[in-house]
């Protein structure tokens, strides 16, 4: 499971100002649950996920992945985490099985365990034909499957998908979507980010709306519908953004 507490990520800017990409964000995701981080481009989705996966250091606040604190136990956090993005690159000069084995070894897995896990995944994702091929000769869809196996080779309890379908064609995107569902069925805790409302609607058990680094709203689609008396997720999102903008205006007046 994931639990995030008052997470802040600030970037110092030229001119001495500070940009708060993630500002006091708290939420959680349970095992067997799909939580969607929904927001427009530049809302802070990627930054949040990079902090959770220990690529970035949190400015303040913290988070736990499977009980491990990202600040004090980054190594354990990484070992319990699978991370996948839509525009992930691969090492073109490696063969598929070499590539997967490389990451398995980095996760301190034994060679037999890697082989077992790799064969199982190859079966599941129908990859047997190209396991010995060099990655540079693969199609986009095949490459995406390789990425999937790479992210889950160490069987992590938590999966983070950052805009997993961005830039993919419809068929490849479907593979990813169904893979996310498989993760849930296997009892994994899934956090995925998107700016596509339909995707959130179809997949998420709960939606966390994020805008300008702050959380606007959080809850199941039904709960959000009830609160805003809107049916369409687009309208729900706009409703909260407007509410936030008005609030900011009022705040500005007060000071």
């Amino acid at each position: 499971m994931i639990s995030v507490h008052n997470l802040v990520k600030a970037f110092p800017q030229k001119g001495g100002t500070t940009f708060y990409a993630v500002n006091d964000v708290s939420f959680s995701a349970d095992d067997g649950e799909i939580v969607c981080l929904l927001g427009v481009n530049g809302a802070g989705k990627t930054t949040t996920m990079r902090v959770l996966s220990t690529v970035f250091k949190a400015t303040s606040g913290t988070a736990e992945i499977q009980g491990w604190d990202i600040k004090t136990h980054p190594q354990q956090v990484r070992n319990n985490l699978g991370f996948l993005t839509g525009d992930t690159g691969l090492y073109n000069r490696l063969r598929v099985h070499e590539f997967i084995r490389y990451f398995g070894r980095l996760y301190s897995m034994k060679d037999e365990a890697i082989t077992r896990s790799m064969n199982e995944m190859a079966e599941l994702l129908d990859m047997k034909d190209f396991m010995d091929k060099k990655i540079e000769f693969l199609s986009t869809g095949m490459k995406q499957k390789v990425s999937i196996v790479r992210s889950i080779i160490h069987d992590p309890p938590v999966m983070i998908f950052d805009e997993p379908t961005a830039g993919l064609d419809i068929l490849t995107a479907r593979n990813i979507i169904s893979f996310i569902r498989t993760c849930k069925e296997r009892g994994k805790c899934v956090l995925f980010s998107t700016h596509i409302m339909r995707e959130a609607e179809r997949l998420a058990d709960r939606i966390v709306m994020i805008h300008k680094g702050r959380i606007l709203a959080e809850g199941s689609l039904d709960a959000l519908r009830e609160e805003t008396s809107q049916t369409d997720l687009d309208d729900i999102f706009v409703f909260y953004v407007n509410q936030y903008t008005e609030g900011a205006k009022v705040e500005a007046h007060e000071f």
């Binding site: 690529v55 970035f56 190594q75 990484r78 985490l81 992930t88 691969l90 490696l94 980095l106 301190s108």
Partner: protein, 673 residues
């Protein structure tokens, strides 16, 4: 650190790199093909050309104004030269020579000495710059030499003397340099240069790919979230670069050695027993290994810093250029290895290489070279690991170039955008170039006036112009703010005690690494300018005190403010020391620079460091001016050595004065920055 993970990264990177055909070509194939083709091809062309010249032959015009049996014999010998035609010199001989229809004009004359001996003078007209003409001369000379010998012998026999008398004195060479050393000399000159450049270019092909390449292909993030520590990633990649750099080096070394050996044997140099200097090669590889690690660390940091491979290759260029220049030292005949040279990276390897190839090196130099390179190496790899942990560097956005456009005057933003470390380095390099070209030109004619002009027009004026052009508030930026009375009272104590201490540091350095004579003579010139004392005071103390301060304590620190006051002081002091273009005074100037930087940045007033700088320089001037005065002898031993006991009071005064200064200034600037 996890050794197992490091090896996993290392093995994967190595496999990936070795699958890249481009890299393989650069590292393995190119050196194997390049040298044999170059050297053997060059040889073949050379010998072919000589053959062609020989076959071309020559036409020689003969002007024989002697016409005796002797001249006939000489001409007979000339006519025996293959492919050569002799013609009698006509009126138009000179014009034929000019139009290259004939290659030489040989004129024979004779003269009679007082005791009746006839001697012959032979004038051979030829063109030294023309290969064909030169060859003609050599052939004529050899032919004449041969007939000279037999003619003299005959004459001696006729006079009843033993012809052996000609060999009365016979100089014979006993060359102690064996063939090993002969080959070593040739190899020692060219090899170090090629090796160093090959090592660097081989490693750079790999390095750019390893981090910048991962950024470009978007694989870096997956690696960072994998179960591996960043330090292990860096070290794994670092080992990859070292390995491939060394492989490249070894391949080069063998390829070039064999080719050179072939060339030398073709050139007729006796190589009996020389063979490949195997021992030398092992010593060299041991010495090159630290350099490989140093280059790898620097290249890796460049690769980490760069957004993509193209950028990495661009940033590698300055490193390549500096290395090339430093490596060229092996071409210079007079420079030999010593303890000081052993501390300068690249230069030390080049000189050591040369010495080892000639089997004439000291073990201490080898150790110093390895040690000093390793120290730099550790610093570089530590820096790379730091860099790899910096989010801002690892995920630098594409639109980093901020511009001044659209920012109005007085807007604080303007200053923040303009005063970036990058712009600071650009400014520094431009100032350095200006100093090197314009400054030295100004000082050729008249050192005194030239120095003053340098201060005003090379150091001060550009700084003021920059502020004017970019419409920045000069007074505020240069910290032209009156100091407190208390500060001004303390500065002389700080300046004098610091001057004494820095002078003592110089003396210690001089004792360990004596400065070259030539250098001291040049430095002395500065203080022995033939001018009234007030003028040298103006040129040596006042002008630098104002101009250099405005640049190095006024303008330059503004570029590095984001690093905080401490780093800023060290950085500007380093630049200040580098600006003096004088390796022997680097450390003393650096120490002074730190002190001056502290005075200004701490107090917020540049006048403090101006006074200190001027005092420091005038003290040096003062000591030269009053050298020889009996009362000065209390402080000075020998010619101009300060007495070492001076260190004690100087340290005491400096510490107290600095402490008080620190208290008086109260850190208002610290709060600001």
């Amino acid at each position: 650190m996890n050794f197992k993970k490091i090896m996993i990264v290392y093995r994967k990177e190595l496999m990936e790199v070795l699958r890249d055909k481009r890299t393989l070509f650069m590292i393995l194939l190119l050196p194997v093909i390049l040298y044999p083709v170059l050297i053997i091809g060059f040889n073949a062309v050379m010998s072919r050309q000589t053959g062609v010249l020989e076959e071309q032959g020559a036409t020689i015009a003969i002007q024989d104004s002697v016409n005796t049996h002797v001249s006939a014999r000489l001409l007979d010998e000339l006519s025996k030269i293959e492919h050569y035609t002799l013609i009698p010199a006509a009126e138009n001989a000179q014009s034929l020579y000019t139009s290259k229809d004939i290659q030489s004009i040989v004129t024979l004359r004779d003269s009679v000495s007082a005791d009746g001996l006839i001697t012959y003078q032979i004038y051979v007209q030829y063109d030294e710059t023309n290969d064909r003409s030169q060859l003609t001369f050599a052939k004529i000379r050899d032919a004449l030499k041969a007939s000279e010998k037999s003619l003299v012998e005959e004459e001696l026999q006729l006079s009843g003397l033993n012809p052996e008398i000609m060999n009365l004195i016979d100089v014979r060479r006993l060359n102690t340099a064996d063939s090993q050393k002969t080959m070593g000399k040739v190899l020692g000159m060219i090899l170090p240069y090629i090796m160093i450049i090959m090592l660097l270019s081989g490693a750079s092909v790999v390095a750019a790919d390893l981090v910048a390449g991962e950024k470009e292909r978007k694989t870096l993030e997956t690696l960072l979230v994998a179960g591996v520590d960043r330090r292990d990633i860096v070290i794994g990649k670092y080992l990859t670069i070292i390995t491939l750099g060394m492989i490249n080096l070894i391949v080069n070394l063998f390829s070039i050695s064999f080719s050179m050996q072939y060339m030398l044997s073709q050139a007729g140099i006796d190589l009996a027993g020389a063979g490949m200097p195997i021992k030398a090669i092992f010593i060299l590889l041991a010495a090159m290994l630290p350099l490989a690690t140093l280059f790898s660390a620097i290249l890796l940091s460049i690769s980490t810093f760069s957004r993509n491979m193209k950028e990495a290759r661009t940033y590698e260029q300055p490193l390549l250029m500096v290395s090339m220049i430093l490596a060229m030292i092996s071409f210079l005949p007079a420079i030999e290895m010593n303890n000081l040279m052993a501390l300068i990276p690249i230069v030390n390897i080049a000189l050591l290489f040369k010495a080892v190839m000639m089997n004439d090196y000291q073990l201490s130099h080898l150790f110093l070279t390895i040690l000093s390179t390793l120290v730099l190496d550790v610093i570089a790899i530590w820096g790379t690991i730091k860099l790899f942990g910096t989010e801002g560097i690892l995920f630098r956005s594409e639109d980093d170039g901020s511009s001044l456009k659209g920012l109005k005057r007085g807007d604080k933003m303007r200053e923040h955008v303009f005063f970036s470390p990058y712009n600071g380095m650009i400014y520094f390099v431009l100032a350095l170039l200006l100093l090197y070209y314009l400054g030295s030109y100004m000082q050729i004619k008249d050192l005194g006036t030239g120095l003053l002009m340098t201060q005003l027009f090379v150091i001060l004026l550009p700084a003021l112009l920059v502020l004017k052009i970019f419409k920045l508030p000069a007074k505020e930026i240069l910290r032209l703010k009156p100091p407190k009375i208390k500060e001004v009272l303390l500065v002389p104590f700080i300046a004098v005690s610091a001057t004494v201490l820095v002078a003592l540091v110089s003396q210690v350095i001089n004792a360990i690494y004596p400065f070259p004579e030539e250098y001291l003579k040049n430095l002395g010139k500065l203080f022995e300018l033939d001018m009234p004392l007030w003028r040298s005071f103006l040129i040596i103390a006042i002008a630098p005190g104002i101009c250099e301060e405005l640049l190095f304590r006024g303008l330059m620190p503004r570029f590095f403010e984001k690093y905080g006051i401490k780093v800023n002081i060290v950085l500007t002091a380093l630049l200040f020391a580098a600006f003096h273009l004088d390796p022997f005074r680097f450390l003393p100037v650096f120490l002074l620079g730190m002190l001056l930087g502290y005075l200004t940045l701490r107090s917020g007033s540049i006048f403090n460091s101006m006074i200190s700088h001027a005092l420091n320089n005038s003290l040096a001037l003062f000591m030269t001016a009053f050298a020889g005065s009996s009362w000065l002898k209390v402080f000075i031993s020998g010619e101009d050595e300060l007495r070492y006991w001076l260190a004690a009071p100087a340290i005491l005064i400096l510490i107290i004065a600095l402490y008080l200064f620190h208290k008086v200034t109260g850190g208002k600037e610290c709060v600001e920055s």
